[in-house]
């Protein structure tokens, strides 16, 4: 989309124009929900367009200014900060990082899978590590625990466009090579389908995609040392039982654009307002952040004229 055109007119109270949001697919349902409420309740004449190309893909559009807001299910990377700087945008001064909510990375398996319902964190990490069990990475369930079936595990996950992949690869796997047999997909819908129809499949993605498909999938209860924990809105978050697989999801805003586009600034304020992310997080499978954080953002944004 062409984000920098179509500035809303300043005269009068009625905001109009467009806001272009793209990036994380994990964040998409939440952001789409926020956008819809904003357009229904606050500013009917503003058009907020939300895409879900993936966190990395989102940044690739955000950096040259093709989008206004960039959703991400991981923190912006140093390389991306450098690219922004090359365009003249200073991360500390012009780019605002907005933490939206907590997400729990969820390992999902088929409903008929009655053995791997509980796994330890180590087991999850090891099974995805290349060369850990088999040179050709054709890992059997029985390789992990001998009493499990001697059938090949089908590894799935989102592809490299996605922050979820990078979070899994960088944080969970600690940048060790992933099994080469893993199949990485662009669409989360595909992953849900694949796992729901294959007894030996396992995949990982945000909690939101799991809650919406509980009838087709089950989540692995992960043991972080204190017994198996099921991901859930009560367990996801810092200092909570599922903290081991908890991550923050973000959206990034270029403040210079926000100064030029009142509708963008207004929408950003709505995101961090009481009616925004904190209210809608739960509905979409995210755990809300402490109110203070968003109130801080709100005052920062209000200080922009």
């Amino acid at each position: 989309g062409c984000g920098t055109t179509n500035n809303g007119d300043d005269n009068g109270d009625v905001l109009s124009g467009t806001v272009n949001v793209d990036g994380s697919g994990t964040v998409y349902p939440l952001m789409a929900h926020i956008a819809e409420n904003y357009m229904t309740d606050v500013a009917p004449d503003v058009s907020v367009q939300v895409g879900r190309a993936g966190s990395s893909a989102g940044f690739k559009m955000f950096i040259p200014g093709e989008t206004d807001l960039s959703d991400a299910s991981r923190k912006i990377k140093d390389t991306e900060v450098e690219e922004l700087a090359a365009k003249g945008w200073n991360m500390d001064e012009q780019i605002m990082e907005i933490k939206l909510a907590y997400d729990g990375l969820t390992m999902v398996i088929n409903k008929d899978n009655d053995w791997a319902r509980k796994m330890t964190r180590e087991e999850v990490v090891n099974m995805y590590l290349s060369g850990q069990y088999k040179a050709d990475d054709k890992v059997l369930w029985s390789d992990i625990r001998p009493e499990w079936p001697a059938e090949e595990i089908k590894f799935y996950g989102p592809n490299e466009n996605h922050g979820t992949y990078e979070f899994f690869y960088e944080v969970i796997l600690d940048e060790q090579e992933m099994v080469t047999t893993a199949k990485l997909e662009q669409e989360y819908s595909t992953l849900v389908d694949l796992v729901s129809k294959d007894k030996n499949a396992i995949a990982f993605f945000g909690f939101g995609y799991y809650v919406n498909n509980q009838d087709k999938l089950q989540a692995v209860k992960v043991d972080f040392g204190n017994g198996p924990v099921e991901p859930g809105l009560e367990t996801i978050g810092e200092d909570l039982p599922y903290a081991g697989f908890t991550r923050l999801v973000y959206t990034y805003l270029n403040l210079e654009y926000a100064k030029e586009k009142p509708q963008l600034l207004d929408f950003a304020k709505f995101i961090v307002s009481e009616d925004g992310a904190r209210k809608l997080a739960g509905d979409n499978g995210f755990a809300p952040l402490p109110d203070a954080i968003h109130d801080d953002y709100l005052s920062t944004l209000e200080s922009i004229q």
Partner: protein, 306 residues
């Protein structure tokens, strides 16, 4: 009456009229025609410029490898998985469309009464008019689940289901073009065969089909080109796994689906990945162009035959 007056007006006008429009219009139409042609040039130029950047930055050995991972930290741009995905879905489609389409063509041209044919042909063509996105939905929400009951090992995204649905989509094309070719066989040739006591089937298989073979081949060639270029069905139903396999029960990605996946994910310009889109597009374009020229050549030969 006014005859003299009318004659005067008309003759005066005829003499004075300078026919300026008449002189300008040919040029106008030529310009419009050239504009239409500019599309081809536009396609070639965009594809070639951006594809050349891709070919300049990726070694040939990598291009002809079986590893396609454009997004990973160490990207690899092997095109073989895409070619395989395209080949497999097309093969399935052709295996469905050619026998059924041919059978329908023989039925319509040899067995059905003219009245019945007049009813059947348009209905058959309805199949060709259904948007591909609808076929995609059909493949995904109906055919795949149905097939999974029959073939337990079938993955939810696979090459088989979109191949079959694509085949169904091109049945009318094969049927209608083949039937045209069969109808072009002179009646007198058919009569010769009937006069020797041939049954309808024998007339069809021994005289009509052999005589119409180039038209039939042309229809198949065009069907191949159609299947290779088909996008939405495979995008929806065959997944995006970059598999290099002959196993049609597995998820595979075609060239067209790659273009869609990549543009809806990461179309940021200037990257090798972005240029790879155009490289794939160029291959696709060249392929359909060559196939179309072949089909034209074949059917031209057909026209010369009688």
């Amino acid at each position: 009456m006014n005859n003299v007056k009318v004659r005067e007006i008309i003759q005066n006008n005829a003499t004075r009229k300078n026919h300026r429009l008449d002189r300008v219009m040919p040029t106008f139409f030529l310009v419009m025609a050239l504009l239409s042609v500019a599309t081809t040039i536009g396609i070639v130029l965009t594809l070639v410029t951006d594809a050349s950047k891709f070919f300049a930055s990726v070694p040939l050995r990598e291009i002809f490898s079986t590893k396609l991972a454009p997004l990973s930290a160490q990207p690899s741009y092997g095109i073989l998985p895409l070619l395989m995905g395209t080949a497999m879905t097309t093969l399935v489609a052709i295996l469905v469309a050619v026998p059924i389409g041919m059978a329908a063509a023989v039925y319509l041209s040899q067995f059905a009464s003219p009245k019945l044919r007049k009813v059947l042909k348009p209905v058959l063509e309805v199949l060709a008019g259904i948007p591909t996105i609808v076929y995609g939905f059909f493949a995904y929400s109906f055919v795949t689940p149905l097939l999974m009951n029959l073939i337990p090992s079938l993955e939810p995204k696979n090459a088989l289901s979109p191949g079959i649905v694509m085949g169904i989509m091109i049945i009318p094309m094969v049927a209608s073009l083949s039937e045209d070719a069969m109808n072009a066989v002179p009646e007198i040739m058919r009569e010769g065969a009937y006069g020797l006591g041939s049954t309808k089937l024998e007339v069809a298989t021994k005289v009509v089909i052999p005589s119409a073979i180039s038209g039939i081949l042309a229809s198949i060639v065009l069907a191949v080109s159609r299947a290779v270029g088909e996008t939405m069905i495979v995008t929806i139903a065959s997944g995006s796994t970059k598999n290099f396999t002959f196993d049609i029960t597995k998820s595979m990605q075609t060239m067209t689906a790659y273009i869609v996946e990549f543009t809806s994910g990461d179309a940021a310009s200037g990257t090798t990945g972005y240029y790879s889109l155009y490289a794939v597009g160029l291959i696709l374009f060249l392929f359909t162009m060559v196939v179309n020229l072949i089909a034209q050549y074949i059917s031209k030969k057909l026209r010369e035959e009688y």
